[in-house]
């Protein structure tokens, strides 16, 4: 891997995005053209020069952070596949979007893994779901589906077994359709035909062996001489998908020498729920409850990223009113409360992983329950809030919080909402954080287990596209709320939590600091809510359209979620009047991309530490696998 080098003599790394694009067009005139499709931005790069241009973007122009790399299938609109890359500067600012196109039949694009290691999993995903081969990729295998699966499901002409129509609402349901259930017509849920000599035994191999083969295992196990001249074998340890410490259905295949990890391969896809395929069938509004189920710990933050992306697209059209101030304040409040929930949960379960089994969690879950009660009273559901809408919200705060479904609880609840919030933000949450710090921050066992373990250097963190506490724990002060601000964050007073060490303990410290910063933000939100009391959450006083039409174009909406940068890349193929369904709906999931450096972080540590390192990254499988 070649390291990013700065080229200060050109002074290019301080240019604006437009200047950077102008530079690229001048410097690589034969390879770079402006993307002039309606509503699109950035440049299109000839795929044979892609690696050179990408290196210039990283080294000369200083866009050192590859946030997202994803593919779009333009079947019927040019009939090509397109890779879309979003690069940012870790010093802040907007994105440089560059794209590479390829033929659908012989889809091949050079791999950008030599430039950004963070492209590794994302390119594998593009291969798996879109069928683009990446020339030069070190380990191009399926990542979400199993090896041996037939077809590349995100292609527009690939249809699932329960396919009905390309877009919802389906004709048979609405309006006044003849309702039937699709499985009544496809009883066994199959859409594959098999050869007559199908052999079960032969099929059984493909998915499992592929996992081990990539490690060079199962075929030829390496023999090692230990220090006493004893001949030993490297051992393969398989953890997951059913394992109490993998935070869900995540799987790791490790090779160990004694108890020391020599290599680690994350295996995922056990919760691949096809968000993106379903998202293309859905209307824009349909997708909001689906975003809840990505990172199911902080659903409010997921809503926020998605509505930002679609609002970006809607603002290209004529009829669009941006959200009111009260709406923005409420969004920020909900998102910060989610962040608190997320970090309490993350720290609690990380402690589980390093041996403090379940007792600390009980303390943190207590406060989480309180916040969830609030969410339930406001949005109607504890976890899957489905709260934000394009240009607004599901509803304003109720005047009083009453327990609705909570019949088994010890006492009946009825609070004044603002009083409840004031008490929670000023007293309860800070008290919980104090308690947490008192128990843990100087705790000797915790220090022993976490200091110096799972180190990720600053350079690696950037190059591997790490995000969130993982990035900031490695000394990169990159927080999207400051680096590329959205909503009302620019006017709020808070600091970016950052630690330089890059180990597990640094990540813990970052999370604790972020808890405190969130409380600081919430304290500033309260007076804003009081000042806007009575103001509508919708710009024109009434809720937005049930089925909004979104103008033609692309948008990348990103937020700083609890786990890191959550981005939504949404493409609308709307003609005149806009489209009701996204053409492409891609989720840049922090939990997924943050796993890319898992291998290098674990190497040389003990198996017991691997579990802790995974906990300190803080993944949630709904988002990892989508």
């Amino acid at each position: 891997m070649d390291q990013p080098t700065l080229a200060p003599e050109k002074q290019l790394d301080a240019t604006t995005v437009d200047e950077a694009i102008a530079y690229l067009r001048a410097e690589y005139a034969d390879a770079v053209t402006l993307d002039d499709r309606e509503g699109y931005g950035g440049v299109i790069v000839q795929s044979n020069r892609l690696v050179d241009v990408a290196r210039a973007i990283r080294d000369d122009l200083g866009f050192d952070y590859l946030s997202s790399a994803t593919a779009v299938d333009y079947l019927g609109a040019g009939d090509h596949l397109e890779m879309v890359y979003h690069a940012y500067r870790t010093s802040g600012g907007g994105s440089l979007v560059f794209k590479a196109q390829t033929d659908r039949e012989q889809a091949e694009i050079p791999s950008l893994v030599p430039i950004w290691r963070g492209a590794d999993f994302q390119e594998r995903e593009a291969w798996d779901l879109m069928g683009i081969r990446f020339r030069g990729h070190p380990n191009l295998k399926r990542i979400l589906m199993w090896e041996g699966f037939h077809g590349h499901p995100l292609r527009k002409d690939w249809r699932e077994a329960y396919y009905e129509e390309d877009q919802k609402p389906f004709d048979n349901r609405w309006p006044g359709g003849q309702v039937y259930r699709v499985e009544e017509r496809n009883v066994f849920g199959k859409n594959v035909t098999y050869p007559p000599d199908i052999d079960l035994g032969r099929l059984m191999d493909s998915s499992e062996t592929a996992v081990y083969q990539s490690l060079g295992l199962g075929v030829d196990v390496e023999r090692i001489m230990d220090k006493d001249g004893f001949e030993t074998n490297e051992l393969v340890v398989n953890m997951g998908p059913h394992h109490p410490s993998t935070h869900g259905v995540f799987r790791m295949v490790l090779t160990v020498d004694g108890e020391t990890v020599t290599s680690l391969e994350p295996v995922m896809g056990y919760l691949h729920r096809n968000h993106e395929k379903i998202g293309e069938r859905n209307t824009y509004l349909h997708n909001i409850p689906f975003t809840d189920r990505l990172d199911y710990i902080s659903s409010m933050g997921n809503n926020h990223g998605y509505v930002l992306a679609v609002e970006q697209l809607m603002s290209l059209g004529r009829k669009y009113n941006p959200p009111t101030y009260r709406c923005e304040a409420l969004r920020v409040m909900m998102v910060e409360l989610s962040r608190i929930v997320n970090h309490l949960w993350a720290i609690g379960f990380w402690l589980n992983d390093i041996g403090a089994f379940f007792t600390p969690v009980l303390y943190f879950v207590q406060e989480r329950e309180r916040i969830l009660d609030f969410f339930e009273a406001v949005a109607g559901s504890r976890m899957m809030c489905n709260y934000m809408r394009f240009g607004g919200l599901f509803g304003d705060l109720p005047e009083r919080l009453k327990s609705v479904s909570n019949l088994t609880n010890d006492r009946v609840r009825d609070y004044n909402t603002m009083q409840f919030l004031t008490e929670m933000i000023n007293e309860r949450i800070p008290r919980t954080i104090d308690e947490l710090e008192r128990l843990l921050t100087q705790n000797e066992i915790l220090l022993e287990r976490s200091v110096g373990v799972g180190v990720l250097t600053r350079e690696d963190a950037i190059n591997y596209s790490a995000a969130g506490p993982l990035l900031r724990g490695s000394g990169v002060a990159y927080d999207i709320r400051r680096a590329d601000p959205y909503s009302i964050y620019p006017e709020l007073d808070f600091d970016i939590a950052v630690e330089d060490e890059g180990d597990m303990y640094a990540r813990y410290r970052v999370r604790v600091a972020e808890l405190r910063e969130s409380v600081r933000i919430l304290k500033q939100i309260l007076p804003r809510l009081e000042a806007t009391e009575g103001e509508s959450i919708w710009a024109d006083g009434k809720p937005g359209a049930y089925a909004p039409r979104v103008p033609h174009g692309e948008a990348y909406g990103r937020v700083e979620n609890g786990k890191g940068e959550l981005g939504y890349y949404v493409v609308s193929a709307g003609g005149r009047g806009g489209s009701a369904n996204p053409w492409r709906y891609h989720v840049r999931a922090p939990s997924f991309i943050n796993l890319t450096p898992m291998g290098i972080m674990s190497r040389g540590h003990k198996v017991a530490d691997v579990v802790g390192i995974l906990g300190s990254i803080d993944i949630v499988l709904g988002e990892t696998d989508r």
């Binding site: 699966f149 249809r159 017509r185 035909t193 050869p195 099929l203 729920r273 096809n274 329950e369």
Partner: protein, 294 residues
């Protein structure tokens, strides 16, 4: 869980009033079930969003240990209950069936949430199994997305009620006392798509029938349903063009001519029900005889 003797003492044999707190006369089934229902050990096993609510149910506020569920075991060998908490994907159903096979009898499955019950919001997804009951026998379904902890507790209490109704004397209720060995559930195979070994015969017949038109492995063919929909949306001509029509013959293998594939199962269930009714009647008449003799 205190042993409430008065409650347990449900036979007709009178116990002297002074011994009521010390002696209970009950049936073996009842005592046995009382023990089982209050020491259900769930498997420490989370799939998706519902797992978070399951953890919340286990935590201090809702605390399912009040009902005897507290000992969550990470190994299937020590678990009585599998709470399928979340979306079952094709990739994950393989380990799930394997885990289920490793659980000792008596074992129960609780499908938590919409996904585990029937696919839920992700049902149409290409990697999603529409419900755990496609592969495993499910005892209790808990609706919700995700179900609240209260709903999960209610589902667990429903399972306890189910256990209460089982009888050692009835071989259908407690197959683990039967003489025949229990067959493990066949583990699905990840081929070009997921393959349920129980459907192998059907697949092979279907494949042989289609062999005339299609020969190479795993050609993805549009299902019959798609064709019907596609025919209605005739405007989308390009998409329909590359769809190979499924012949009537091929379909007849999917739906055997003898009726629906589940008709046989219905039949067996009906026979069982009748047998159970007969037993119940017999017991009642015996009890009546005893009462008369007294």
């Amino acid at each position: 869980m205190d042993l409430n003797l008065q409650e347990l003492n449900q036979t007709e044999f009178p116990v002297p009033a002074e011994l009521e707190n010390n002696i209970a006369i009950t049936s073996l089934s009842q005592l046995y079930n009382w023990g089982r229902r209050n020491s259900m050990w769930p498997m420490l096993f989370g799939l998706a969003c519902c797992a978070i609510e399951m953890i919340a149910t286990a935590a201090s506020r809702f605390d399912f240990s009040r009902f005897g569920f507290e000992v969550m075991r990470a190994t299937p060998r020590q678990a009585d209950l599998m709470i399928v908490s979340g979306t079952v994907t094709k990739k994950m159903v393989v380990p799930i069936v394997r885990l289920y096979n490793q659980m000792p009898e008596p074992k129960y499955v609780l499908a938590m949430g919409a996904c585990a019950s029937g696919g839920g919001p992700f049902k149409e997804g290409y990697n999603v199994v529409s419900g755990m009951d496609k592969y495993l026998p499910v005892d209790v379904y808990v609706p919700g997305c995700p179900p609240t902890p209260q709903a999960l507790l209610y589902g667990m209490i429903a399972l306890q009620r189910k256990i209460d109704g089982q009888s050692i004397a009835n071989g259908d209720d407690v197959p683990w006392y039967g003489v025949s060995s229990a067959e493990p559930t066949p583990v699905p195979v990840l081929g070009p798509d997921i393959i349920d070994p129980r459907q192998m015969d059907m697949i092979r017949r279907q494949a042989e029938a289609a062999a005339g038109d299609i020969s190479s492995l795993g050609i993805r063919d549009l299902p019959a349903a798609t064709q019907m929909v596609a025919a209605r949306v005739a405007a989308d001509a390009t998409a329909v063009a590359d769809a190979t029509p499924v012949s009537e013959d091929a379909l007849s293998f999917v739906l055997p001519s003898g009726g629906a594939p589940w008709a046989e199962a219905e039949d067996i269930r009906e026979k069982r029900r009748l047998r159970a009714l007969a037993r119940k009647a017999l017991r009642a008449s015996r009890r009546a005889t005893v009462a008369e003799e007294e």
